[in-house]
Amino acid sequence: MLNPWEVKGKTLFEKLGGIHWFWIGLLLAVMILIPILHPLGLPITTTPWTVDAYNAIINAPDDKVIIWEDLWGLGATAAAEAAHTAVMRILFANNKPFIMYSEAPDNPQLQQYITEKVLKTAEAQGKVYGVDWVQLGFIASGEAAIVSVAENLHSAFKTDYFGTPIDKLPLMAKVHNYNDMGLIISSFGSTTWIESSVRQWYIKYNLPIVSYTMTGGATISVAYYPNKGVVGIIEGGRGGAELEYLGKVYGIAQSQTDAKTLSFITIAAVIVIGNISYFGSRGRKEGEG
């Protein structure tokens, strides 16, 4: 375990399966560092569900407000930053007023961090807090909180995250309940929260949802796409990169997708090597037997 130079095994196949974790980790680190230090500009494709998500955001009704329920945690900033930034910039660029609230205790800090970054971009110039967007803060109870927010937003939140009474925020005067909401962006750092969102926002209140999930979450969100509640899916960092491309709000996602490509290829390669070792060693043992 402690000696990285030690390679266990007698035959070549066994040695292939005995590589120390240090070398595999080092290989992965190199594959991630290369594109971060020098972006490679590798091409990416857009997925139909991300295109639909983008269209749903830019075509949200102008007379209603977009609600962004957010469950990403602060620890997932690296994974969430690209797509969060892209979504916020697209909302600002298309003059879509939105209200953010958190269902994870450490999400408000993430939202603040992203907001501070986005406010320095061109899309946020001229935007006024309280008029163009509001950050409401954390509400407990998960799925039950959706009901509170949808039925009577002003009862669910008396102040925003910064302690300002919501009656003093002009945007909040336009939104009281689900009738004033045009689109829900449901963002979560897991894969299964979309079921709660669909149960409440769509089944009860007939509101369309853009599912912004972590990598791998599209497999679950797709059950409700495209016409069972989910109108579009943004899948992790890849979704963020696609949004940057679609909305022309280029940011950090490009270098991240290059790093992602190389790291995923590396992981695929080591799994193949592990299986070559397994089958090769097994064949030798069977032969000896």
Partner: protein, 280 residues
């Protein structure tokens, strides 16, 4: 065709007479059916009428076997409550099953004299539950003096700490058996991978079906989805739980029947006959 239109008219009439929320007819029918099946099986259970026995679950026997192995090898039994377990929302059912399994495992460990380590979920509310269950299990076997709560009950904090400390404890102390039940996340991978590497028996059950692939691949004995609820009912010996599961199976048969009929109708080009089931 005429008969079918006549049936549709009757259906509309019945629904209009019922005071129910428009657009939710099929959901309410399913809800009423589930209540009817549930009440029927509760009545059978309460009246001491025979109820079908649940099949055997090898995982239950494996827990006893693993505890015996723990005594022989002097390595502890690790019990994980599930890193996403919580007594709220859709994790509640899995968490309650997990606590049932904890009671069973703790009792076995107390009875046979095996060391037990309980990894408590990041949800701190489960700490008091686990404490009470383990204390009661040991007291029930008259072995309260042998319970070292500091060694047994381990709360690690958030999901990352749960994983790193859980792996550390399994690596440092050894693993005779790892039992992980409840609302699982990546625990299905690391817990059973480390258990396998250390030569332990892996027994797992998950209600969060998105992660059951880990159980299927890495656990020696797995309880997938409803199997966990069934096994939990079996070890609790509660007739009511078993009876309600059978009522749930009846409901599933009805839903399967509806899906088959809808599938056949759609393939035959007559989706219009069943579209009322799926409309919103």
């Amino acid at each position: 065709m005429k008969k079918f239109k006549y049936h549709l008219k009757i259906q509309k009439l019945v629904i209009n007479m019922m005071i129910i929320r428009p657009g939710k007819e099929i959901e309410i029918i399913i809800l009423i059916l589930s209540i009817v099946f549930f009440l029927y099986w509760m009545w059978r259970s309460a009246g001491d009428k025979p109820i079908p026995a649940l099949r055997d679950f090898p995982a239950i026997d494996a827990i006893s076997e693993g505890v015996g192995r723990s005594v022989e090898t002097n390595k502890p039994v690790h019990f994980g409550l599930g890193e996403s377990s919580a007594l709220s929302a859709d994790q509640a059912a899995g968490t309650i099953s997990s606590l049932n399994f904890l009671q069973y495992t703790a009792r076995e460990c107390a009875r046979q004299g095996a060391k037990l380590i309980v990894r408590i979920s990041p949800s701190p509310h489960l700490y008091t539950q686990a404490d009470a269950i383990v204390t009661e299990a040991y007291a029930g076997e008259g072995k309260q003096q042998e319970l070292d709560k500091l060694f047994t009950l381990r709360y690690y904090g958030d999901a990352r700490s749960y994983m790193t400390r859980g792996i550390h404890d399994m690596d440092e102390l050894g693993v005779a058996m790892n039992v992980t039940m409840g609302a699982l996340s990546v625990e299905t991978i690391w817990a059973f991978a480390v258990c396998r590497m250390k030569g332990g028996i892996g027994v797992g059950g998950g209600s969060r079906w998105g992660m059951v692939f880990g159980l299927a691949m890495l656990a020696d004995y797995s309880l997938l989805g409803e199997e966990m609820y069934g096994a939990s009912a079996k070890i609790s010996g509660d007739r009511n739980s078993i009876a309600s599961l059978i009522g749930g199976d009846w409901l599933k048969f009805v839903i399967i029947g509806v899906i088959i009929v809808a599938g056949v109708a759609t393939l035959a080009g007559r989706y219009d006959l069943v579209s009322w089931v799926f409309k919103r």
